[in-house]
Each structure stands twice: as structure tokens, then as C-alpha cells.
């Protein structure tokens, strides 16, 4: 199977604050097959996502939700929402780094 970017495989790739100190990212897939391909990819393992987001290994918590074909990641925000230097107060545009991940 040729490599496919996550943006082509997932229906929804979204990020948002879970409170001002945490960032949470949700991936939703159309069916069990697409979900399984993403959930099984080393490129979407928690440590790989930590590298992508320049977080320490172990900082990224992953939740696999096969019943709704979804994967969630939760990680600490780089800085508290709204602190000087923050570039995304709502955390709503932090999903983009994942879109090009090849599966």
C-alpha cells in the first residue's frame, strides 16, 4: 500500500485547548479500516507525535477509541494560553503539523 498523508485518510483532524494548560488533538476516520491503519502506524505513535510537536517523550497521552474510529492526543501546551509569546490562544490551529504525516 502506498503511503497516504493523514489529511487524505482522516475525516477530521482538529486541535483545541482542554483548559489553558493542555492541548488536545482529535482524529476521526470514516471506517474501521482507516482507523486501524492510523492506529497501527508508528508515525502516529505517542512518541512520534511528541517529536512532531517538540514535546518530551512521555508528554503525549494517546487514547485509542476504535468504537467511534477516533484517536485523541493530549499534551501540555508550550505555554499557558494567553501568556506573552503565545501564538494560538484557543489552540485551534495546532493540528496542521499532523496533516502531512504519511501512513
Amino acid at each position: 500500500m502506498s503511503a497516504t498523508p493523514l489529511s487524505a485518510l482522516a475525516q477530521v483532524v482538529r486541535s483545541k485547548n482542554a483548559g489553558p494548560t493542555l492541548l488536545t488533538i482529535d482524529l476521526f476516520f470514516e471506517d474501521a479500516q482507516a482507523y486501524a491503519r492510523a492506529a497501527g502506524s508508528t508515525h502516529l505513535a505517542p512518541d512520534a507525535v511528541a517529536v512532531l510537536y517538540q514535546r518530551d517523550p512521555g508528554d503525549v497521552q494517546r487514547y485509542l477509541l476504535p468504537s467511534i474510529h477516533a484517536i485523541k492526543y493530549t499534551m501540555p501546551r508550550r505555554i499557558c494560553a494567553g501568556d506573552p509569546g503565545d501564538g494560538d490562544v484557543y489552540g485551534a490551529q495546532q493540528h496542521a503539523a499532523l496533516l502531512g504525516v504519511l501512513l
Binding site: 489553558p20 477509541l65 501546551r77 501568556d83 506573552p84
Partner: protein, 465 residues
């Protein structure tokens, strides 16, 4: 008899489902009137509105101002007040005025009084004040009773004292206390989103797990639908589950869209901490009733012995002035960070004082880190913020920085007439007082009865005849 008293005395779960109408997930941005009207035709037992959030950042809590435009807040309040009073059903509004501190609550109550006077409405208003005094937090800090939520440092005592407002999120335990008093309209300061919609159902005897799960989904109205929207959402709750239905016929609550919404803004998708316990969603079931409605059941609840309290506090950090400009010169684009650092050095010599500068270079990784190779080649946008103890200094630093950046010489420069493109002048804009979050913590063993003050108000003057 007030609307709450009547509902609590007359409705029993055995009588049939409780109809909870979520009119707004963020009151003040324009409640879609058509969907609200369709919701009212379904004869809801209660109307709930969320009016705030911590999402918009520390400014609103710190300053005591509303994020939503006052004219639109008034328009939305008029809609829901008129609806609830016409049907004589309880109206529950939480997180008044964005951040739910005393000035937000006062401003919301003032609008309600003004609307009531204009429309000739009379009713019992109950308010819940969510403010904490610095002393209460200092005591908890000294006793080791503050736990950070996420990577939040413990504050110093001075940082706690510097907070302009500190609020606690009241939960169902507190709103139940408020709703036991004669109430037509309840307006709470900072409140858990879930408490707005779950408290009356729980008081009526519906299972806590279902009440909270229902509340968690409807608090954003039709955001849980496809296509997502802001239209009123109806939940029909019984002892076994609840049915979700958007009041916009084109926004469909599907099992996938509803299940997905349970994850929204939530760190842990399976266990959701609420003040009175943990909502357990591992066994939640979502089933389509038809193309428009979804039936939800199966959530569990693990109560805790004593309700927890989440507190939020914001403190001023100075005055902010913002410089807005564009850059299109390719040579400058390639060395922009170095040029900004060199200009800062120059300005430091010219403008003494405790000002700081924070550069956001759009096109070069302002939103998310971006390797140099992927930097925009065509142009970049500069949003440069200056923070200083007072507005005169932040404005001075911004103005001097702007002019020095405009005419800064750098290696290979060909555009010797100016380095910046301004969309308008003045390109440096005073952005008022800047704030930051100091508190986002759980306060253990807090005495909720002392913190959350419940008050009763008669709104409108009884008629003379």
C-alpha cells in the same frame, strides 16, 4: 409560585421525558431565532444557556469585561428571557458575562433588569456569585491545598494578590442549592458548563450520569451535529437515556457526530472529571433514531466524597501596544529574526525601562514551529507586541521600534526607502491592559457554601391593580 418550584413539585421522571432546551453555547453572539422558536414549540421544561468560557484567554477574567458585544448580549438575553417567561419555565444561565466574575455577573444582571423594565417582565432572579477573595486562595496555598491542572506553576502569594479577579467553577452541588430557592431565572457567575443543563434534571431524580452526559453534549448546542451549527438543541431525557435533536432541521445529530463531540475540548475522552465525581463514558452508546436524531445511553458515574473546586485567576502584566506591518523583500524575509533582534538592541539604547517585545512573524512560524526551508517566500506579516508597566512606555517602545525597523540597514538591502508595508496608520495600536492566568488549579477541601453566595432578587415592580 416560581417556575422552578412548579417544575420541582409537579414533574416526576415517571411522567415522561424531561425536555431540556439548550438555547446558546455562547450567549451574546446571536442566538439563531428560527431554531429557538422551533425549540419553544416543543414545550421545553427548562431553557439553559452557557454564556462564558476560559477559552478566550485571560483578558476577560482579568479586566472584568465581556467578550461578546454588549448589544448582541442584550439581544440574546431578550430572546431567552421573553421565551422563558412566556412559557413560565426556568431559565438557567451560567458563566455570566464571559468569565463569571463579579463585574461580569453585575453587568449581566443590569442588562436583565433593563430588559425586564422595558418589556414589563416580573420574576424572581437568583444569582450565584463565584468570586474568591485572595485571602481564601492564600490560605489554601499555605496549607498545600492547591493542585495545578496541567503544567501550571504554583503561584507565589504576591501573584495571588495581584489577580484582579479569582473565580471558582460552581457545579451541580451549588446550582442545586440555588435552585432550591424560589427561582424563575438563575444567573450564575463562573459555572461548569455541565451544571447549567444537568442540575434541574438531577434534582428531579434523573440519573446523574445521564444528566451530566446530556449536559456535556448540549452545552455547545448544535456543535455536536453535522453540519455543526449554533442552533438550539433539544434533549429529551428519561431514566434510561436521552435523545438529541437539533432545532435546525438541516443540522443532524448522528451517532458519529455526537460521539465525536464528547471528545471536544476534553483531555480524557473516557473519564470526565466533574466537581461531584467522574463521568464514565467507556460504555456510552450512541444510536441513530433516524437521520436527524441520536439516542444516547450507557454512561456511568463515580461520585466522590466531597465536591472539588476548580479555580481561575488572572493578573495584569502591564500595558500592551501592538505594531502591525508586512514585509515582502526576499532578502529581508531571509534575515527577519536577526533584523528584529538588532532593532531591539537599538531601541533598548533609546528607550530605557522595563518593556518587553514579543514578535509573531506570520509566514515564518508564528502559529506553529516552521523550518526555515518552508518559510513563506512571498511575504510575511508582523504582529509585534510591546508590554510595559504603563501605556506611555509600551507606546513609546512600539513607535521607536517601528521607525527603526522601517529604516534598518541589513546586509544586501536594496529597498532603501523603507522595510515595512503598513495597511493603515497608525500602525501601532494600544491594546489596553494585558493579563495572564495565574491560577488554573484545583483547590482541595474548599468550603463551597462560603465561596458561592446565592442571592435572590425581585425583578420588575408588581403591578398596582
Amino acid at each position: 409560585m416560581t417556575a422552578c418550584e412548579r417544575l420541582l413539585r409537579t414533574h416526576r421522571p415517571a411522567d415522561g421525558p424531561l425536555r431540556v432546551l439548550a438555547a446558546s453555547g455562547q450567549l451574546g453572539y446571536g442566538i439563531p431565532a428560527d431554531a429557538l422558536e422551533r425549540g419553544l414549540q416543543r414545550r421545553p421544561h427548562v431553557i439553559g444557556c452557557d454564556m462564558g468560557s476560559i477559552d478566550p484567554g485571560p483578558h476577560y477574567l482579568g479586566s472584568g469585561t465581556m467578550a461578546a458585544p454588549a448589544a448582541m448580549v442584550r439581544r440574546d438575553l431578550e430572546l431567552v428571557l421573553a421565551a422563558a417567561r412566556a412559557l413560565d419555565i426556568p431559565l438557567v444561565i451560567g458563566s455570566a458575562g464571559t468569565a463569571g466574575a463579579a463585574p461580569h455577573l453585575d453587568a449581566t444582571v443590569a442588562l436583565i433588569r433593563s430588559i425586564a423594565q422595558e418589556k414589563g417582565l416580573q420574576f424572581r432572579l437568583t444569582t450565584v456569585h463565584s468570586d474568591l477573595q485572595a485571602e481564601q486562595v492564600l490560605e489554601a496555598l499555605a496549607d498545600g491545598q492547591l493542585d495545578p491542572i496541567g503544567p501550571m506553576p504554583l503561584p507565589t502569594p504576591d501573584e495571588v494578590r495581584e489577580c484582579s479577579h479569582i473565580v471558582g467553577q460552581c457545579g451541580t452541588e451549588t446550582l442545586a442549592r440555588a435552585l432550591q430557592t424560589p427561582t424563575d431565572v438563575l444567573v450564575a457567575g463562573r459555572a461548569c458548563d455541565t451544571a447549567i443543563f444537568a442540575t434541574l434534571p438531577e434534582m428531579l431524580g434523573y440519573p446523574t450520569a445521564l444528566c451530566l452526559h446530556m449536559a456535556k453534549i448540549v452545552e455547545c448546542t448544535s456543535l455536536c451535529c453535522r453540519p455543526a451549527g449554533r442552533d438550539a438543541m433539544l434533549a429529551e431525557l428519561d431514566m434510561e437515556g436521552f435523545t438529541l435533536e437539533s432545532m435546525n432541521p438541516l443540522a443532524h445529530a448522528t451517532p458519529a457526530s455526537v460521539a465525536a463531540h464528547a471528545l471536544y475540548e476534553q483531555a480524557d475522552p473516557l473519564e470526565v472529571d466533574e466537581p461531584t465525581g467522574t463521568l464514565l463514558l467507556r460504555d456510552a452508546r450512541y444510536e441513530a433514531l433516524d437521520g436527524h436524531r441520536t439516542r444516547v445511553s450507557g454512561a456511568g458515574f463515580r461520585p466522590r466524597a466531597q465536591p472539588t473546586l476548580k479555580i481561575e485567576g488572572a493578573a495584569p502584566i502591564g500595558a500592551r501596544c501592538v505594531l502591525l506591518a508586512g514585509v515582502a523583500d526576499p532578502t529581508l524575509l531571509a534575515c527577519l529574526p536577526q533584523v528584529l533582534a538588532a532593532v531591539e538592541d537599538k531601541v533598548r539604547q533609546l528607550v530605557p525601562g522595563a518593556w518587553s517585545v514579543h514578535s509573531h512573524i506570520y509566514g515564518q512560524g508564528a502559529v506553529a514551529p516552521l523550518p526555515d526551508a518552508r518559510h513563506g517566500q512571498h511575504e510575511a506579516g508582523l504582529v509585534i507586541e510591546f508590554l510595559a508597566p504603563d501605556a506611555a512606555l509600551s507606546r513609546t517602545a512600539a513607535g521607536v521600534f517601528k521607525q527603526n525597523l522601517l529604516h534598518h540597514g541589513y546586509p544586501g538591502r536594496v529597498s532603501t526607502a523603507g522595510n515595512l508595508a503598513f495597511a493603515f496608520t497608525p500602525s501601532e495600536i494600544d491594546a489596553g491592559t494585558a493579563y495572564r492566568f495565574v491560577l488554573y488549579h484545583v483547590m482541595r477541601d474548599a468550603c463551597l457554601g462560603d465561596i458561592f453566595q446565592v442571592r435572590s432578587h425581585m425583578i420588575g415592580t408588581p403591578s398596582l391593580h
